[in-house]
Symmetry: C2
Subunit: 423 residues, 2 copies
Amino acid sequence: MRKGKTAQLSIPQAAGRTAGGGISRPLDHWLVRRMLAWMHEPPVVVRLWDGTEIRPSTPAPEVTMEIRDRGALLTLLLNPDLNFGDLYSAGRIEIHGDLTGFLVEMYRRLNTRGDAPFLRAARAWINRPRRNSLSGSQDNIHHHYDLGNDFYRLWLDGEHMQYTCAYYPDASLTLEQAQAAKMDHVCRKLRLRPGDTVVEAGCGWGGLARFMARHYGARVRAFNISREQVAFARDRAAREGLGDRVEYVQDDYRNIEGHYDVFVSVGMLEHVGTLQYRELGEVIRRSLRRDGRGLIHTIGRNRPKPLNAWIEKRIFPGAYPPTLRQMMDIFENTPFSVLDVENLRLHYARTLHHWRERFEQHCERVGEMFDEQFVRAWRLYLHGSEAAFSAGELQLFQVVFAHHHNNDIPASRAHLYDGRMPP
Amino acid sequence: MRKGKTAQLSIPQAAGRTAGGGISRPLDHWLVRRMLAWMHEPPVVVRLWDGTEIRPSTPAPEVTMEIRDRGALLTLLLNPDLNFGDLYSAGRIEIHGDLTGFLVEMYRRLNTRGDAPFLRAARAWINRPRRNSLSGSQDNIHHHYDLGNDFYRLWLDGEHMQYTCAYYPDASLTLEQAQAAKMDHVCRKLRLRPGDTVVEAGCGWGGLARFMARHYGARVRAFNISREQVAFARDRAAREGLGDRVEYVQDDYRNIEGHYDVFVSVGMLEHVGTLQYRELGEVIRRSLRRDGRGLIHTIGRNRPKPLNAWIEKRIFPGAYPPTLRQMMDIFENTPFSVLDVENLRLHYARTLHHWRERFEQHCERVGEMFDEQFVRAWRLYLHGSEAAFSAGELQLFQVVFAHHHNNDIPASRAHLYDGRMPP
């Protein structure tokens, strides 16, 4: 099923693949050494197609990067950010050993030692403001979220289908418990009360809306442009008897109308172009009552930088994790005060760890649904994302805000931590 | 004593003060009505020097603004932001009724309805980046903080002499308890441990440094450019037997040297020009160990705006409360992640309420130390500040940060709220 989707990952195979490029030459070895120098000498052995190994000066590397043909080496050198992922997906590069650990090491080195000058020069272009049109947003979202509910069901938490960072106040929580804890944390931050009206921008499979309705007695109108997700969400809500309290709207957040006690958005801002942040602020301004509360949960950055080029091209077209400074475009032009910001990046590393464990358990099934190249691409994406959050390359911000006139603010955040278990 | 200091508040008295400007005329009444329209019709009666009252259309105003001479009316109209304070201080304007309530109402109106166009036009100039030179900083700080320890002792909390926002997790706390709770909240956010080395930028009378040493076993080096405060702090530390664990350095934060486990700054950033934020970030970068933690506590804004012109001129020269966006200049150019932001603005409103109550208890003594004009200026400043925090015109941000590689981050912020009372 859905084989057609994998066309996005079609990568030319090396011409001389069977021969592996013949015997490696001194020029190949010199190129590998240059590449390792650019990579700030990571603790990795590079094994070439003919078995030649280039070892770093660091002692006892535990990871081997196998480059299986000369074309792969040259392609990698040309644009490592973009091509490593394609070559790995195609099986032309293999990592033997701890893939996440290797990627963490790579992120740490790049962050500490700084980019090469040509990368810095590329930043000005890369960080240009981005605008997502309504139809462009639809294409981007369909690319990723309409891969099929059956696919995501294999490795997300079964009950709530949360494809966003979970919350592990206790490291021993299961993925299911941690996703419930995340939703509860969000509800507490919003001080959600029975009868509150909520508008949700970007609701995924609708799990948070159902959670708010069931456990907090809220009435939720949830927006999402993904047809498959909305169909799933409506079905679940109907089967769980929540159809009268939860309404799923297949539409863009920019078309939100009405007035609400609460605005919430978990994992949508990554798909909103920075040029739309003021407009998002305006949507919130016109829809939130004067005594309302709001929360935005998003992947973020410490400083402006695009998503990894390969992930942006192959996995999440149009996605961009903002800095806190960029997020202020939402709030500074509106009458809102930021009340609370929490950075949950290590919780996302743990969430991704749980996801990739489940993904591996089902990778044969995924291979049947798509193909092996798809399996390898998603393996790299899940490992790479865990590595990025673990290495501090990506952040996870939850931002709570309210109208600046609103003095109904709790004296402390103790109500988030009263020891009550999430439902 | 210290009479010389009040020269800063010398304001020309109205020539015809005794006569009160004679009988008020239709032009005066028209000007008052124009002024009330510009102020978005606040619920206030304006009484002129001859007893004429101009009443607003709103019902039952509880506050009367008495304008005691025609010159005061014209001066007020010319530049209300700056001149209201001077005229109030000089007794040429009097507010009968709830001064704080009146000022809250003014802030709310201005914020909701927006500024007049000429005010908006002035913003570009007003929001120009500010640079504080080392010598300029010294002048500014001496202006305010060297008014004399005896003066501040009259109305700050006696034990810790905290001239920053206190923390009232429980509204019934006394000022003394709330200042201890603030320092404890800061220590918990920093996860301060025995033996930790701390550098403090801008230490006031040194209360936080002594608190950290006494209750958390930390060794603290605290910087401040105010001679009188440093002398006070050293004396207190010696008398309390903390001289071996707390060192007060009379120097600018830009001259901080050494490596520390913790960087903390409470109430200094308001005096650091925005153009120096990158430099402050660099000071923190070079002084904080890789596993270190940092906290900056500052008055802030939702959007860029200068401090009230009168307060900036008469009370706090060179002060500027930044937005979160502006604060990111400290962090975005350094290897730090923002972990936690808490907005405590209503705690500052309560702190100021406690301060002004004590100030009023001692205003006769203050009048002897300075003069009546000084008493009125500080009365307005304390009431006005309470109003600004209460109306959401000013914010109070506590920002916790750490090196982005540092994965020794607590899984939740529950350790801030374990029910233990501050020492």
